[in-house]
Amino acid sequence: MFDRRLITHFDWTYLLLILLVSGIGIANLYSATSSWTTAAQPVYLKQCYWLGLGLLIVFIVCLFDYRHLEYFSFPLYGGNLFLLLLVLFIGRTSMGATRWISLGGFNVQPSEIMKIVIIITLARYFSEKARVIGFSLSELIIPALILGVPALMIMKQPDLGTAMLVLFIGGTMALFAGVQRSAFLFVAASGLLAAIGGWFLLHDYQKGRILTFLNPERDPLGAGYHIIQSKIAVGSGGLNGLGFMKGTQSQLSFLPERHTDFAFSVFAEEWGLTGGLVLLAIYCLIVIWGLHIALRSNDRFGMFLAVGVSAMLFWHIVVNLGMVIGLLPVVGVPLPLFSYGGTSMVTTMTGVGLLLNVSMRRFIF
């Protein structure tokens, strides 16, 4: 099964881009958490381990032909739904949300797995049903269910950010599959209505986040604090930044969550617009490169996989960056490869592995 051509066709550039962002991310974490002298193990070091695990995952995912996944897609989907169901009943609660279950000593977050599984499942669905003029409304019912059921379950945890990302990923894939104009307008309109209706279903803290996003000064020491401090950090970076380890917002701990969701603010403060644009360019290149892999893949399943993974990365990046620079409300979405966290690293690297898998097997039939 392992072919020498796989090595020659391996997309080293893409992996290099991924490693580049991860490396910058780790350096940034080093600066962001340098004032934490009490931690047993430095955060940047732990992130190195997670990156190592991530690369191992990439390697493993690349070992087998992605096309086998087509057969496993529905069982994977069913299993993941079951795990989500388990979360609702026996999940571990932390900070008001129930997102984890304990599987053999590991804390697993099924909603995170669903990001990958929904890509595989929808890739299978859309690859089988090609439509020249796009899907009509009635034809979208099944993919809508595939997407909607887990999204609702995730929202129930509640984890609005992940639910939204799952919907965005699935929606992007549907758009790629082709959607008739009337169906698109209908979905857009009903989505808007649902958003308005959904307002009343939101938890108070979620409403607060949105209200505070619209006006951070509403609660400068509470919900608005994150946005205000993040904007101060980014803005005070200026053109060239304050220098590595010299950002006062992060070094003096004014910036909350600076090693996770707000890691980019630390970077922007210390490296300025110059550094920020470089990082944005790399991320943009990663997404475009992923789309390019999709375009050049040799089957529709591979294409949808690549589109899905690129969409996942794109939406994570946009939602996170939009949040830290005050364009979007605060939803707990990490910046892939840049924010500290094992879960995010595993999910992202699984996706990256899939993309590389699609890429390296584009000439193999």
Binding site: G235, S253, R300, F365
Partner: protein
């Protein structure tokens, strides 16, 4: 392997990729634009906010200016007061912390909780004071046990200290936190809320000079408000130093002489009006006010029948009694009613209509002239002379000695006393003046009221030939470099050209009071220095009836509040007067036996000090 067609064969797919790539680039473009607007357009704004996040400006309280007496003896300065404060961000388990503090220092947990609640309005980075002025021992205990007291720190603040104890306490006044009302006034524009400010007395009057200039600590803090480093510091500048006209030696002598009696002593420089001693007793410990008076202490002060909080020098109004007689004598001589040699017979009483006014000496003084009337304090002579001179003439003379009006003392709520006139009585009571009222006014009774500072001022004017100097308490203000920033300038309140002959007659008589056998203060004379004076015994309520007087002589106690005030006014030395001393002992009895010895004690101190200074002066000179 797959039945699916290759993507590139799907029509329109390539277009879809191009469009989506464009969307991706556009979205990243929007993010970039936003970054540019925050980091290029907004950089100044956000840097400013960032600075405000981490930079705190903390004022360093300057040491308040010290107060000295005229010879540089320290009266008021500052001492370090230790307070136990909490940095709220570092306090974890407050219950445990307060329990530990409570055990360590023996304070109630409830009291700590109370302070904690009160202090919640303070900015987060400001330590919240839990216990103030805890003393060195408690401070050391806290520092030794700091490991069990997370978030607790000991702060040092300067607090007013009074090395001479309660000496001249009524002058200094006390400090308190500046009020919102004060802060609105332009005078206090550069004050901050929470700052200490002079509330009364000298502290208030010289607030701007004593205050000094606050230093500034620019500190960088982290989000928990913890101080990380001091970025720059502007050192505080201590306040200016105040030199009073007070001579501590005289002050102490006077305080000691009054002992536990209630009353006032004022010593003035006859030729400038400088106040050398300013005693009001009983007094209080100003240190109590510096650290905050407890309710119990305050109640004791307020309920004390001898009114320790009242500044008797300025606010005590007493009938001058016989100390008024010099004024009456000068008024009569000026009006030509009598000559110094004019003699009247004193048989122990003076009849006016059906009423009989008695002399203090029942047997009478026999043939009395001005000299004898003053020396032996004959009332009958003054009844007659006063009546012939008339109240308005007497009042005119009294006013020219500064009586009946405030001396312009800058604080303390000075009272004006009272010199009655015909028109005053008409206005006040709507009735006309009676001759009997002139009679008793002539011996300083009736409506006549004076304050101790007025009496001292009057006596100084008698001694210096008729000039009433404004009594002044501050000699100079010295700034940091030691330069004199403000200097006392003697100020004449009024000047009267009394006939030299009349003045001489009165002065000679006053000298006899002390220095000649038969003078009322003869027992208080000094051997080395001659001083002149006049005793006074002022009735508090009314003339005593015979029965009461007999009862008193029989040894029965008159209730304290009905006992006579004892007065003595004096100056020294008789040939070239330098110092005037007025003494009032409330309900003390006789001026001759109670008040005059107090003045004597002041003179002893004064001249002892003078001799000593002259001696050392000579030694320095001979050492050259």
């Amino acid at each position: 392997m797959s039945l699916n067609p290759a993507p590139e064969e799907t029509p329109g797919l390539r277009r879809r990729f191009i469009i989506s790539s464009l969307i991706v680039v556009t979205v990243f473009g929007i993010l970039s634009l936003r970054l540019w607007s925050l980091q290029v357009l907004g950089v100044d704004h956000y840097r400013d906010l960032s600075e405000r996040n981490r930079i705190r400006y903390v004022a360093i309280q300057p040491p308040r200016g010290a107060v000295f007496d005229r010879h540089g003896q320290l009266l008021v300065d500052n001492r370090p007061a230790f307070s136990v404060s909490a940095l709220r961000q570092q306090v974890g388990d407050r219950k445990q912390l307060f329990a530990n503090l409570s055990v360590l220092l023996g304070v109630e947990v409830e009291a700590l909780e109370e302070r904690w609640r009160k202090g919640q309005g303070l900015p987060r980075y400001r330590p919240l004071p839990l216990l103030e002025d805890v003393g060195r021992e408690a401070m050391e205990k806290v520092q030794e046990n700091s490991i069990d007291l997370p978030g607790i720190l000991v702060e040092v603040k300067p607090l007013r200290a009074y090395p001479q104890g309660d000496v001249a306490a009524h002058l200094f006044g006390y400090l308190g936190e500046v009020t919102e009302e004060d802060l609105r006034k332009t005078d206090f524009a550069n004050y901050r809320s929470g700052e200490m400010i002079g509330k009364t007395g000298l502290e208030r009057l010289f607030e701007q000079k004593l205050r000094g200039q606050a230093g500034l600590k620019r500190i960088e803090v982290n989000v928990r408000g913890r101080e990380l480093r001091q970025v720059t510091t502007r050192n505080p500048l201590p306040g200016n130093q105040l030199y009073l006209t007070i001579d501590t030696t005289l002050q102490l002598a006077a305080e000691k002489a009054l002992a536990d009696k209630a009353g006032a002593v004022v010593a003035l420089d006859v030729n400038t009006g400088e106040i050398l001693a300013f005693v009001s007793r009983p007094t209080f410990d100003p240190a109590w006010f510096a650290r905050g008076v407890t309710n119990e202490e305050w109640r004791d002060l307020i309920e004390n029948p001898q009114h320790p909080m009242t500044n008797k020098v300025l606010r005590g109004q007493y009938p001058p009694g016989s100390t008024f007689k010099m004024v009456v004598a000068l008024a009569a001589l000026e009006a030509g009613t009598v000559k110094p040699s004019t003699k009247f017979q004193c048989d122990g009483s003076f009849k006016l209509g059906s009423y009989e006014y008695r002399c203090w000496k029942k047997r009478g003084h026999g043939s009395v002239d001005l000299h004898k009337a003053i020396k032996e304090s004959c009332d009958v002579w003054f009844y007659r002379v006063g009546l012939e001179t008339g109240i308005d003439q007497i009042a005119s003379a009294a006013q020219r000695f500064g009586l009946g009006q405030t001396t312009g003392f800058p604080f303390g709520g000075e009272r004006s006393g009272l010199i009655p006139t015909r028109s005053w009585k008409k206005k006040r009571f709507g009735t006309s003046w009676y001759d009997g009222e002139t009679v008793i006014s002539s011996i300083g009774q009736g409506f006549v009221l004076t304050t101790p500072i007025q009496l001292a001022s009057m006596t100084a004017a008698l001694a210096n030939g008729g000039t009433v100097w404004k009594p002044q308490i501050v000699q100079k203000v010295v700034d940091l470099e030691g330069d004199t920033e403000w200097m006392l300038k003697p100020e004449k309140l009024m000047e009267t050209a009394w006939s030299a002959e009349s003045l001489k007659a009165v002065q000679t008589a006053m000298a006899s009071v002390v220095n000649d056998v038969g003078g009322t203060a003869w027992r208080s004379r000094l051997e080395k220095v001659r001083f002149a004076g006049k005793t006074g015994t002022a009735q508090v309520v009314r003339r005593k009836s015979d029965e009461e007087e007999e009862a008193e002589q029989a040894g029965d106690e008159v209730p304290y509040q009905y006992r006579d005030h004892a007065l003595f006014v004096s100056y020294a030395p008789t040939d070239s007067p330098q110092i005037a001393v007025a003494v009032v002992v409330e309900h003390g009895g006789h001026g001759s036996s109670v008040a005059a010895p107090v003045a004597k004690a002041v003179y002893e101190a004064y001249f002892a000090e003078k001799t000593e200074h002259n001696d050392t002066g000579r030694q320095v000179a001979s050492g050259d």
